[in-house]
Amino acid sequence: MHGEKSNYLSYPIVIVTPDKEALCWLAELEKDFFFQVVSEIKEYQKLLTGQSNIAAVIFDQIDQASEFLTLTKIHSLRAKTFALVLPAQLDHLENIIPDDLSCQPLVKPCQSEILRLELVRSIEQQIWSREQELLLAVQRQESWFSLIGQLTREWAHEIRNRAAIISLNAEISMTKGREQSLKSFNLAGIMEKIIEQCLKISKTLDSIRELSNIGQSRFPLVSLEQVIEQVLFLIKLEAPKVHIQVEKRGSVDLSLSLGESARLRSALLGTLRYFGRIKAGLSPVLILIENQQGLCLKICIKDILPEAIVDLALIDGPLQDLLSADPKVLDFALGIRLLKAFGSEVSIHRDESGGEMIMMVTSPRR
C-alpha cells in the first residue's frame, strides 16, 4: 500500500490533539494516509457532521476518551478508534474507557508501525464495506427494475387486450350502423362493453401510478454524486487501472429519480467502458456543470485515437445498422440513445488541436 496515498484519499483519518507537535512522530505515516487534524472536541463534532467515510480516529486526550468515543458512536461512524497513551496510562485505561465503547490503545511513540498496519486494515475494511454497500444498492435497483419490467409487460398486455376489445366492439357498431340493421343490434349493450373496458384500463393505469409512487418512496431521489460514485465503483471493478477524475464546477446538487439515475448510469458506463477498451490507461475527466439548461456532464478524454470517435449518425441511425456494429460501439451507442430518448442532448466532438475528445450530455431540469 506504500506510496498509494491517492487510493486512500476518500478515507480520511481524523487526529484529535490539542498539540500538533505531539504528533510529529506520525509525519512518516502522512505519506501514506490522508490526515485531518483537529484540536478539540467541538471541532471534532463539527467535522463529523456530514462525514460518513472517516476510516479511523486517533485521539490523545485520554481523559476525554469517553466523550470522544460517545460522539463517534452517535454519528454511527464505522471508524476504528485509537487512543494514544503513555506507558504509565495503560493500566488505568480500563477505568477510563466505558465497556460499551471499544478503543485500541497505542503507546506513543514506539507503536507507530502497529498504527500503520491497523490504519491500512481499517481503511481496507472501509473500502470493502463501501463497495459491498454500493454493490447491494446497484443489485437492489436492478432487481427493482426487473420487477418493474415484468409488471409493465403484464400491464401493456392488459391494456392492449382492453383496447382490442374496444376497437372490435366499435367496429361492430360502425358496421351494423352502416348496414342499417340496428333493429336486431343491441347498440346499448355494445356501448356498455366499451365503457366496461375503458374502466378496466383506468384501473390498470391506477395500479401503474401506485407502483410508481411506491418506487419513489422505496427509492427516493438519488443524488448525482451517488450515481457517479456507483459508476466509478463499477468501472473500478472492471478496469482497476483506469483512473477517472471527477471535477465539479459550481454547485452541482441535482437530485435524480430512480429512472433518471439508471439512465445516466447506463450511459456513463457505456461511454467509459467503450473508451476504456479503445485505449488502456486513459484518464477520462468527468466535469459536472449545472447551468440554466439543466445538468451538463462533460467528459473529456485526452490523446484519444481517431477511431474512438463514434459517428453520431450511426447512433441516430436505424437500430439495425447499429446492431451490426462492433459490440463495444453498440454498448456505448445504446447508452447514448437511451439518454437522447429521454430528452438529453448529446454531442460528441474531437478537439483537433489538442486531440481531446469531448462529449457533452445535457439533461433538462424536470
Binding site: H157, R160, R162, I165
Partner: protein
C-alpha cells in the same frame, strides 16, 4: 348443412364475447373455454373445425395447449390470437402447427377472411 364449429379459448370474458359476436354473425357455431385445460376437455367431447386461442392464460397457457393439441388432436386447425406475441411465441406456435398467429388489434374483416380461409382448406393437415 351443419355450421362450422369453432372453439374459442380466451381467459378474458370481454374478448370471448366480442369474438363470439363477430364469428356467430358469420354463421359459425361457437363454443368457448376460458383456458387450455377446459378447452382440452371440450376437444375430447366435441368435434371442432377450428380452434382460435389466446396465448396468455391461467392454468394452461396457449403454448402448452398447442402442444397438447399437436399430440392428441393433430387434425384440428389452430389460429393463435394474442395481445403481444413476440418472436419466440410466434416461432413456437408455428412450430407446433398453428396456421396463423394474429394480433388482437386485427380488423374484423381481416379476421373473418382468415378464419373463413383456413376453415375452407380441406384435408390440408
Amino acid at each position: 348443412m351443419e355450421p362450422k364449429h369453432i372453439l374459442l379459448v380466451d381467459d378474458d370474458t370481454g374478448m370471448r364475447d366480442v369474438l363470439r359476436d363477430i364469428l356467430e354473425d358469420e354463421g359459425f357455431k361457437i363454443t368457448t373455454a376460458e383456458n387450455g385445460k377446459i378447452a382440452l376437455q371440450q376437444l375430447e367431447t366435441q368435434t371442432f373445425d377450428l380452434v382460435l386461442t389466446d396465448l396468455k392464460m391461467p392454468q394452461m397457457d396457449g403454448i402448452e395447449f398447442l402442444e397438447c393439441i399437436e399430440q392428441n388432436h393433430p387434425e384440428v386447425k389452430v389460429i393463435v390470437i394474442t395481445a403481444y406475441g413476440g418472436k419466440n411465441n410466434y416461432d413456437q406456435a408455428k412450430y407446433l402447427g398453428a396456421f396463423e398467429f394474429l394480433s388482437k388489434s386485427i380488423r374484423i374483416e381481416e379476421l373473418k377472411k382468415i378464419v373463413k380461409g383456413i376453415i375452407s382448406r380441406e384435408n390440408e393437415i
